[in-house]
Symmetry: C2
Subunit: 328 residues, 2 copies
């Protein structure tokens, strides 16, 4: 299924493939140090592929008016490196065993290498973005990176079922996902020759795309198993993370049922999860979540409608449709 | 003894105390988010004090010509936040229990919070340095931060006794310590109104100070116990880190003894360490290391001599003398 996702995405992104190749080259070049431990661990996850959605957003937005620029390639590479660093650190935190179908960096090299290689990648990414041409966008990338990490910390703070509600959930996904995608679209826009005001519309479009993406991702986790996504399976609930389908379910049950569900969430077990998953399905909480995601997607379509028609605009719309409608 | 170090340092740095207070305010202001978990864990180590050597270097170099500037305070705060982030991540990596005399962040909140709060502090520090006025120095701070992390990774790569030699040791401490102190001095210099060329002399002076500082730090670890430094005690050897006194000892023993020492280093135990420590002392490897450190300090004095006499210059010289001659 991971394969299917990649081939569907590859078809959509095929027109910007030459730019994504340049992004790959840039990533490899920037991360290589000549020290085997660093080079192997830093490049490891990239070898597994990855969706490169963030790089694509930078490239696509930089190409809404004319050909995508070289500066956009630098920023796209920086965005992917930041994203990959965050995955490596997430996998330490969640003690995940698999990522992109292969053992995680922390499992393969241990958490001390994973901590440092993540730090190394964060700083390298920011160093890329300090390069000539990309520098004006540097504050945007730093702020987005900082917000992403803050979002992860919010998630820990509000992890408990007694503390989190839908409001917290949306704050968390805005910080950890949406603002970063928004920054990617804005950076591309600025590099593509748009005004500050137009680029801010792209930022806003990116926020909506990010919300839609993360909500779908969280909903898919409800149906997740290892064969489908290359991840561990059943994850969020078992890691104590409460996401939209579950929060919606809680809003639609009586007090007794709510106590029972809350108890399961506090002491997550595979058996508890089987029950919660069934109740989520019965309550239509999946449909609800996907409808919320589609609402964000409609807002994105509306915002992109303020830009003239172009091949890159069409690809952005295809990409967002794909990200919302995928069921894997 | 930790107390004694602080009071001796405080006396030396007393004239810039008002600026260091402003640095503290800036750190607190920048790190506070309103989310208790983040605010408590991020400010935790600062409450224990810390030597603030890096902040002092920025302030002092910015004051070599006139009064230290406000921009220098921002950069000094950023430097301290970066340093503190690196300590938090180091303590995960080394599984240390104590830092600055109190439990480490990873021990108190667990490694998932420690990973994220370190990331949060790194990005926050860089965000501070993106502020107006400080922005021109941003690439210097990013490069220094990146090198610091790379130095830690080099240390892991060359940790094994079979791989490390003096050349690797000096590369590691240049990357992980000296370049960051150099960047602090350069950033201060630029903000203090010096030319690029003059600021590069300060960078060079900072490199020498950094080498001297780290060599002394590593030598002190040979004599270390928990009561003296607020750290765990006996550390480097037991963590598999090979430092200058041991490398010097290895160069000055015959083949049989070398095999024996190497064996101890490969399987470090407290008993092995007792033996190695005694041999280090007998071989005069402590005196050798301190002499190397003093060589770097002499170079620093020479470089600082190219700047006109001023109160801040005198403090830099006092500070470097103190850092090299301290025995705690």
């Amino acid at each position: 299924m991971q394969k299917r996702l990649k081939s569907d995405l590859a078809r959509i992104l095929e027109p910007i493939e030459p730019y994504l190749k340049k992004v790959d080259d840039q990533i490899r070049e920037r991360l290589s140090t000549g020290v085997p431990l660093i080079d192997e661990s830093a490049m490891y996850l990239f070898k597994g592929g990855g969706k490169k959605i963030r790089a694509s957003l930078v490239i696509l937005c930089s190409g809404l008016k004319a050909e995508p620029s070289g500066d956009a390639v630098d920023l796209a590479a920086a965005a992917e490196i930041v994203h990959c660093a965050s995955l490596i650190h997430d996998d330490i935190i969640d003690q995940s065993l698999l990522r992109r179908g292969v053992p995680t960096v922390s499992r393969k090299w241990g958490s001390r290498v994973a901590v440092l290689v993540g730090d190394y990648m964060y700083t390298t990414a920011l160093r890329v973005a300090v390069g000539e041409g990309a520098r004006s966008m540097f504050p945007v990338l730093v702020a987005a990176t900082s917000d992403m990490v803050k979002g992860e910390l919010y998630q820990l703070e509000y992890a408990g079922i007694d503390r989190i509600d839908k409001h917290h959930y949306f704050t968390i996904i805005e910080l950890k996902t949406a603002r970063f995608m928004a920054a990617c679209m804005k950076m591309g826009g600025v590099k593509g020759g748009f005004s500050e005001e137009e680029s801010d519309i792209l930022y806003n479009a990116g926020l909506n795309l990010g919300f839609a993406f993360q909500i779908v991702d969280d909903a898919l986790d409800v149906m997740d198993d290892s064969a489908m996504t290359g991840k561990d399976g059943g994850n969020d609930f078992l890691e104590g993370k409460v996401t939209l389908p579950f929060l919606h379910l809680l809003e639609n049950v009586d007090g007794g049922e709510r106590s029972k569900l809350t108890e399961y969430a506090k002491n997550p077990t595979p058996e508890g999860w089987e029950y919660v998953r069934r109740r989520i399905r019965e309550a239509g909480a999946m449909e609800y979540s996907l409808e919320v995601a589609m609402g964000y997607n409609r807002k994105l379509i509306e915002l992109m409608g303020t830009f003239p028609s172009s091949p890159c605009r069409d690809i952005i719309l295809d990409l967002s449709k794909f990200l919302v409608e995928r069921n894997y």
